[in-house]
Amino acid sequence: MEHNHAIVHRDDEASRIGMWLFIFTELFLFAGLFLVFIVYRYKYSESFHLASKELNITIGAINSIVLLLSGMTIGISHVAIQKGNKKLTLYLLAITIILGIVFLVNKYFEWRIKFEHGLYPGSVDLLALSKGDIMFFGLYFFMTGLHALHLIAGLAFISVVFGAVVREKVHATKFALLENCGLYWHLVDLVWLFLFPLFYLIN
């Protein structure tokens, strides 16, 4: 018998199912947090309303647009690879990565301003405020932080796909990896599109 598992049969449908299942898991991970958010939003609705005014809607909105654009570019790269246009695919993936980094840089400045104002978990200034404020900023840092970690993981994933396109491991007839990467990136998008109104646009 010379069979070897190195000879794997290819099943794009299976890898797509696998990715969707993983996304379900990720959604439930965030769902747990959204549940916590809802509970405390209800309990401290007034403080949440006031604390949310501390967040910069302009930066938040810019970041939302940046992420939506990146979702578009990775979506188009999926079409480009199917048409066999390797160069365009690489350009689009690179733009997606740059947009992701722009988001992180914006986020960094947002966080830094909060730190300068003493609005971070455990700071003396924050502990002097009401319980609702403490909870709002605790949730803000935890949820946007977890989202940023997912975004970094997504960027790493796109970089891997970028390399695979360069080496032609991903091409016009074999693009499941790029497709799954796109699915994951859209998840990162989607979570942000919930985070933005929940934290910035409380009214």
């Binding site: 598992h5 449908e13 747990g32 405390y40 978990p121 319980k131 840092f141 935890f142």
Partner: protein
């Protein structure tokens, strides 16, 4: 099948020695990696349990003080739940037999499967490192209840992080199995021609996927609270400890179905084989598995009857708890009806299976006492809960694991074990089990609290019975393990179908070749068609 095939045990690939195992993507080798790791951790957990029983043999300090005892029951719980029972049957027997039972050559994602095992080992190392590093063994209990877990001076973070990584491993196993079942069933194997063990793994897979992330995020929140003083569950910072309990049980109640559903799947395979009869009510078993997986999501509140929930939620959670008992009972009736007028072959796996039904019924029925709020207020946090839980989880998953290893042993190793010693081991283990856990019901009813190293003198007699039972049970365990270990290398060679089973694993040689099937079989019949 020709005689000079190479079995998966002898197959020589790129690597030699231990590396040909720990880097193998073959589902059968990964299954054995899990088997050896899980059994090792089980022995650790059982030793801790024995030490606790020795401490409880007399009131007052016997062999350890309160802090050591708290550390022991915490580690016993973490080891047994996260390292043994949750991966247990799916990771070992699911990995080995799911592909074979559905006529596939491997799982859908073999590399991911190996990654799951590595994550499992990593999680185990992190969790166990909590014992030796930092500020002493965690003493929160395996439930990590807030607010104590937020402020305990012990090394809780390592235990939480370990549990988080283990959860990730469990999710990947579930994901892999669901995809495998969707995509890799042999031609002709329609959904309702699939054997029942794969069905139970399918239902389990969905719970693993959709419940585990909730505990994952909850554990991360507790870690963040300890590191960064965020107040999610800390009342001093505006948090709510009861919310922790909700989140914890939203996962951990479905998790008991992660533990018990695969066990039910094993029993549904063993009973028809040794009754030489088609399973009674195949569809009822399939749909009751799915019903358990679904309804199991909505009963978590019955762990919190004493936590101050509103009376409306008490009513709803209690009602749903009684509802979820129905599909479990359906299965019991199906198994018993399968045996009716069958030609029963009283082999070791069958003995384990019927003793499973016995202890599972005691465990299940005692659960109803805890499921109704009025009696639960009396029994909450007493030894009764410990008795109930061990009857249903150790008696359920543990006995099914034993049934599975004795059922599939000849297939896994290609050798038979000594049935006479196996039966003696079963008899001693079963007797010890009953003496160990039955007194706990009485102790709980009369008011002995759990998780305490000390008790009032009037509780001593049942505690002595229970402690002696634990020693008897471990003697039985020693016989069982020695018999199996010896037989794996010295037993008589097994045929491909020693029990007269009808499912696909009995149609391949023992032990199976690397690729399981020379040709993927075409399926025309249902899985259990006798005569």
């Amino acid at each position: 099948m020709d005689q000079n095939y190479v079995s998966y045990l002898d197959y020589q690939g790129k690597y030699k020695g231990i590396r040909s195992w720990i880097f193998s993507t073959d589902h059968k080798r990964i299954a054995l990696l899990y088997l050896y790791s899980i059994v090792s951790f089980f022995l650790v957990g059982a030793t801790l349990g024995l030490l606790m029983k020795l401490e409880l043999i007399a009131p007052g300090r016997t062999i350890m003080g309160a802090q050591t005892y708290n550390g022991l029951f915490t580690l016993h719980g973490i080891t047994m739940i996260f390292l043994v029972v949750i991966p247990g049957i799916p990771a070992v027997f699911g990995n080995f037999f799911l592909p074979i039972l559905i006529g596939a050559k491997d799982v859908a994602f073999p590399k991911l499967n190996l990654l799951s095992w590595w994550l499992y080992v990593t999680g185990a190392v992190i969790a166990l490192s909590s014992q030796f590093m930092g500020s002493g063994p965690p003493d929160t209990g395996w439930t990590f209840y807030a607010p104590y877990s937020l402020m305990a001076p012990t090394n809780v973070i390592a235990a939480l992080l370990g549990a988080f990584v283990l959860g990730f491993s469990s999710i990947l196993t579930g994901l892999n199995f669901i995809t495998t079942i969707h995509r890799m069933r042999a031609p002709g194997m329609k959904w309702l021609k699939m054997p029942l063990f794969p069905w139970s793994l399918y239902a389990t897979g969905w719970i693993q996927l959709l419940a585990t992330p909730i505990i994952g995020i909850t554990l991360l929140m507790v870690i963040a609270e300890r590191l960064f003083k965020i107040g999610f569950f800390n009342p001093a910072l505006g948090g709510d400890p009861v919310l922790y309990q909700h989140l914890f049980w939203i996962y951990s109640h479905p998790a008991v179905y992660i533990m018990i559903l695969p066990a039910m799947g094993v029993i549904s395979e063993v009973i028809p084989t040794f009754s030489h009869k088609t399973i009674f009510g195949y569809k009822a078993i399939v749909f009751s598995s799915l019903a358990i997986a679904f309804v199991g999501y909505f009963v978590w509140g019955h762990h919190m009857f004493a936590a101050g929930l509103s009376s409306q939620s008490l009513f709803a959670f209690s009602f749903l708890t009684f509802i979820v008992a129905i599909p479990s009972a359906v299965k019991v009736f199906n198994w018993v009806a399968t045996m009716y007028k069958g030609s029963i072959d009283r082999q070791t796996p069958f003995l384990w299976a019927i003793s499973f039904i016995f202890v599972f019924m005691i465990g299940g029925l005692s659960g109803l006492f805890l499921g109704s709020p009025a009696t639960d207020v009396h029994l909450h946090d007493t030894a009764f809960v410990v008795g109930h839980f061990h009857f249903i989880i150790f008696g359920g998953t543990g006995f099914a694991f034993m049934a599975a290893i004795h059922y599939w042993f000849p297939k896994i190793y290609g050798r038979m074990y000594d049935t006479s010693w196996a039966n003696k081991g079963w008899m001693i283990f079963f007797t010890g089990f009953l003496f160990l856990y039955t007194p706990m019901f009485y102790l709980g009813l009369t008011g002995m609290p759990r998780r305490s190293y000390d008790y009032l003198p009037q509780y001593q007699t049942p505690n002595i019975i229970s402690s002696l039972g634990s020693i008897v049970m471990l003697c039985g365990l020693a016989i069982i393990i020695m018999n199996l270990v010896r037989s794996a290398s010295h037993g008589v060679k097994a045929e491909s179908d020693p029990w007269g089973g009808k499912t696909l694993e009995w149609q391949v040689p023992s032990p199976p070749p690397l690729e399981n099937f020379e040709e993927i079989p075409a399926i025309t019949n249902g899985p259990y068609e006798y005569k």
